[in-house]
């Protein structure tokens, strides 16, 4: 199959799954920010998601597939690229690429580890039993309490800060990259997209870390 085996084909798959992932992190951030409207808002949001029933699972499967495909091809392409470049020159001076672009595989693998931890922490709920308390008699977990208590200890806060720093690195190259890969850029748009890409990464970074940081700052009371 051309699409799944060729150089350009697999890049297109990276870009399309990349869109799904970027769209997810944006929507997820918007959803999470209902925390800023108080305990009832974030719990209502969580309840709303759960009430979608089977759609939740369809959604999870799509995300899982996109994530898995992105990871498998990301690793495969990176290994091929390393194999194509046997040993570097004694002197190597890069003129245009950046730290984020050169560390895509590292930031990607850190994100994978982060996602696993994040799911155990807030979705499967096994890492910190003391933070999962029931919400009245609804049979659901109080998500507000879980988030606020979840960031009372140092370790989770550090893990989230580090994870989001790598999300910034990954997206600051990845966002503009996907437009180029899908043939949607030209000489005029490319510099603009480079800046936009860093901006998107930065907004995601600030948005996501504001939640643990404001909790640590004591803004949210239980």
């Amino acid at each position: 199959m051309q699409l799944t085996q060729s150089s350009v084909g697999r890049k297109i798959i990276m870009a399309v799954t990349g869109i799904v992932l970027v769209a997810f992190v944006c929507v997820h951030l918007l959803g999470n920010s209902s925390l800023f409207f108080g305990a009832d808002a974030i719990n209502a949001y969580a309840q709303k998601l759960h009430s979608l029933g089977p759609f939740v699972w369809v959604f999870r499967l799509v995300m899982l597939a996109a994530f898995a495909i992105h990871i498998v091809f990301g690793i495969q392409l990176t290994l091929e690229n390393r194999a194509a470049t046997p040993e570097a020159n004694v002197q190597v001076k890069r003129l245009r690429t950046g730290f984020g672009a050169e560390t895509m595989i590292i930031s990607g693998l850190v994100l994978l580890a982060f996602v696993v931890y994040h799911l155990l922490h807030f979705t499967v709920r096994v890492t910190n039993p003391e933070i999962y308390v029931p919400l009245g008699s609804s049979g659901m977990v109080d998500v507000y309490v879980m988030m606020v208590k979840g960031f009372q200890s140092v370790l989770p806060v550090i893990i989230y800060l580090v994870g989001m720093a790598f999300l910034f690195l990954h997206v600051s190259h990845g966002f503009q990259s996907l437009f180029q890969t899908l043939g949607l850029s030209n000489d005029k748009s490319l510099p603009v997209m480079g800046t936009t890409s860093k901006l998107v990464g930065f907004v995601l970074l600030v948005g996501y870390i504001s939640i643990p940081l404001l909790i640590v700052a004591g803004l949210f009371k239980i």
Binding site: S6, L77, E80, A83, A84, T97, H173
Partner: protein
Amino acid sequence: MKLKLHVWRQNGPNDKGRMEVYDAPDVSPDQSFLEMLDDVNLVLARQGKDVIAFDHDCREGICGMCSQVINGVPHGGQERTTVCQLHMREFKDGDEIFIEPWKARAFPVIKDLVVDRGGLEKIMQAGGYTSCHTGGVADGNALPIGKDIADYSMDAAECIGCGACVAACPNSSAMLYTSAKVAQLAVLPQGKVEAHRRVMAMTEAATEHGFGNCSNHYECQASCPKGIDVKFIAKLNREYMKALIP
């Protein structure tokens, strides 16, 4: 001026290779980089030593033969300049200069700074042509082509096949080169006919001959002596997607 050169010496593809130091004691700022190396070689030859092997042909920036990584940048980093057009006035007295060959698995070292860039030819052979009899020179405007299209094609056709883009690429990808060849033909009526087959065949040949995949680092454009734009890689990607749809 006086310079100290660190030059990569390697006796063939299986030799490990190493940097060796040479003095260039009397360099004129008006000399080209290759003329400076000629002088160093003259001294080596008189001493009965093995001269530094390097590729060159036209020495006027159009053939794409001169292929040296200078201080970590293919062609030395002066904008839109090949090694042969790089002049010693860009350096100053006492400078240490590192001179190395293109490095990529697809470019085995033949000797010292000379590499086998045949892989680029293989990509060209896979589809960088049109299968039609062109006959004699056609009448001026017998086949009207808009100026913007002609310019676009000519911009892509500026590529001299030097391989600096591969040497500059962290992935040793030949995507800029390939995209220039694909784009230059894809916009012209003669080239459109085989556009689908061409983009498939050429990108496949690049993989087959050991070039890496593009990760959009854009290092290629930064060191291309002809300023080939990465917009042509976006064009190649568009052509590829068109070709995927039957």
